[in-house]
């Protein structure tokens, strides 16, 4: 149990960032992370460390998110006017190189709406690589696809996001 607590202390923020960015619903995302912790506990004896703890853990979260999104496919989803950061339970991180001319919360709300419109496979790639800072190799291992597939998904995701955020990227 202590080891699992340590895993949560080390990787809880990454697990929650991934689940909340994918599901855009704080409560559902928290349930997914809770379930992931139970699975980690059950699967721990089989952990061999080939892929690294972070990749292994995030893979469990990503798989649970995918299953959840598949089940949720026919539901209406959160309304557009809802504050997407608030609904997802994401906080604005202090970033040193932020352009002070831009209202951080407005820009990030627009960005969350754009991320929400991405197909799930592009969304998970962009969250793992750009939000959590994983390497291409780690993203590929987490998602169970080739590095080439990761690069292709990321390219398409970023092109979609650049189009959606054009007004803020040009300033």
């Amino acid at each position: 149990m202590e080891a699992l607590g340590e895993v949560y202390r080390m990787l809880g923020a990454a697990m929650l960032t991934l689940a909340r960015s994918m599901l855009r619903d704080r409560d559902e995302a928290d349930d997914i992370v809770e379930e992931a912790l139970l699975r980690i506990r059950r699967a721990a004896p089989g952990f061999r460390g080939e892929r690294g703890l972070r990749t292994w853990t995030l893979r469990i979260v990503a798989n649970l998110c995918r299953d959840h999104l598949r089940r949720r496919r026919f539901s209406a989803g959160p309304p557009e006017d809802l504050d997407p950061l608030e609904a997802a339970g994401l906080r604005v991180e202090p970033v040193a190189e932020w352009d002070e001319a831009m209202d951080r919360r407005t820009v990030l709300a627009a960005l969350e709406r754009a991320i929400a419109r991405l197909p799930a496979e592009q969304r998970e790639a962009v969250v793992l690589r750009d939000r959590l800072g994983l390497s291409y190799e780690e993203v590929a291992a987490t998602l169970g696809v080739s590095e080439g597939a990761v690069k292709s998904r990321l390219f398409r995701a970023r092109e979609n996001l650049k189009r959606a955020m054009a007004a803020w990227l040009e300033t």
Binding site: Y8, A13, L38, L90, E93, V107, L111, V126, L161, W168
Partner: protein, 122 residues
């Protein structure tokens, strides 16, 4: 060699900064909940857990039997059942009775009951 033009690179870097600027922090309440759930699961004694499986299975089976019985009763009670008895053609012919005992039809198309032709000259 990097072929991206400086303007495009600037847009790319700005998007990366935006993407990094939102995240979640580990929620201690979530760990407390998960820990309590795991401990509750592990506290369930082995024999009780073993007993719960057949009890669960029997419960599911009883529900299935009850649902099947109710469906069958409902189907039998429905008004759209056929209002006549279905029989085969053979059954129908046999049930009309006289078919087997009937007189064979008269030869040469003579009407039934007509005098038989003796075969002599008129």
């Amino acid at each position: 060699m990097d072929t991206m033009d400086p303007r495009e690179r600037e847009r790319d870097e700005r998007l990366t900064r935006m993407l990094r600027a939102a995240g979640a922090e580990a929620d201690p309440a979530l760990w407390t909940r998960a820990r309590a759930r795991i401990e509750a699961l592990e506290r369930t004694p082995g024999p009780l857990a073993w007993l719960m499986r057949p009890v669960g299975l029997a419960g599911s089976l009883a529900l299935f039997v009850a649902a099947a019985g109710m469906s069958s009763a409902l189907l039998r009670a429905l008004p759209w059942q056929q209002p006549y008895e279905v029989v085969t053609l053979t059954d129908q012919l046999l049930s009309e009775g006289s078919y087997a005992d009937a007189e064979p039809p008269a030869a040469n198309g003579a009407a039934p009951g007509a005098a038989r032709d003796s075969g002599g000259m008129p």
